[in-house]
Amino acid sequence: MDKTNDNELMEQVSAGKVEKLAILFEKHHVRLYNFFLRLTGRRNISEDLVQEVFIRILKYSSTYQARSKFLVWLYSIARNTHVDHLRKRKDEVPLDKQWYEMESTEPSPAEKAEKSQEVVWLGHALGKLPLKKREVLILSRYQGLKYKEIAELFGCQIGTVKVLVHRAIKELGKVYFELSGGTAL
């Protein structure tokens, strides 16, 4: 991994060395893609959103404040990009119905099929959560953001984030339990 940290790299991008953004892209784009994938359940859309985030980073690079953590800045752009996307596609399929168009799988071992089923249930359960709960859960569970950073991102108290995480998991568990017919957890 590059020794220069993300904040320093972004400062350099901000100062006009845009080629440094390539390092940040290589480091973060897969994670960012998965953030969108878990948020939307759509691969194509997630790829478009990743693209849009990096375009916005270029566009707003000069507004980057050296003191703010790059990861928080990145995800604030990502959240806005996603919300703008939702506004544009308001009239389309409800979110919990558009989860992970799973590729039709070849005949697979029973274990693998079971796992796929869990993935589908979890995906649908996540899709049923209100946006903020879904975001907070994904950010804390998968994106490696601390509660403190999420609080900064959401502009709220750290305690609020903890309560939100707690409620989000509780709700997710409930939906998952219903979807799985009360058998699996």
Binding site: V18, R38, S46, E47, Q51, V119, G173, Y176
Partner: protein, 227 residues
Amino acid sequence: MKCNQIKEKFSDFLTGELDKNVREKIQEHITVCSSCREELENLSAIWTKLEVLPEEQPSDKVRTRFYAVLDQYKQNQDRKTVRPRKERFSIGWFRHWIPARPAFQFSIAALLLVVGLAGGYFLRPGWQRKGEIVQLRQEVHQLSRITAVSLLQQESLSEQMGGIRWSSRLSQENRASLADFLRTLNLDISAISPSRNNSIAQSEFMQSLSEQASPVVEIALTFVKHF
């Protein structure tokens, strides 16, 4: 700790952000409180369950498009930075007379100023009084232009500002004081030479020069003092 205080810590429990002390307190509590135990077990189960959502790799399209955008952005950026430089250098024939290094630019401007003043002085006897003023005015005007241009070519903003001030001075209110200045020069060129005795004119002249807070003028001033 009471149940609600314990439950407040559950989010931290899941991410492992608790110190050992608090963790132990929670574990103690759930051995005696079935309600809290059940809730924590459920939360932990679903938190762990989230592992099954796999991390996927995006298609190559993402990378390809990103680098295309980055290249495009860099090209636009280069074009933007090249254009003003082009304008800066398109001052015409003047450009070829001005060396690239600021130090040389200053020296040349200073030298020209001195040469101009000296030339005006030595050539004076052969001229008509009126023509002399016109000629001197043109020379000083030209020198000032060189000074302004050389200042405008500087990288630093403050020096450029100096150049802008200089050129605006030239074109506006200082026409009158330029005439005064030339008249002073014409009537008593000794003002610029310490070996002559008109100390009032000399100090006024020096003062008016030192008010031009530019390094070029400072250098010129040093030359003039030894003239």
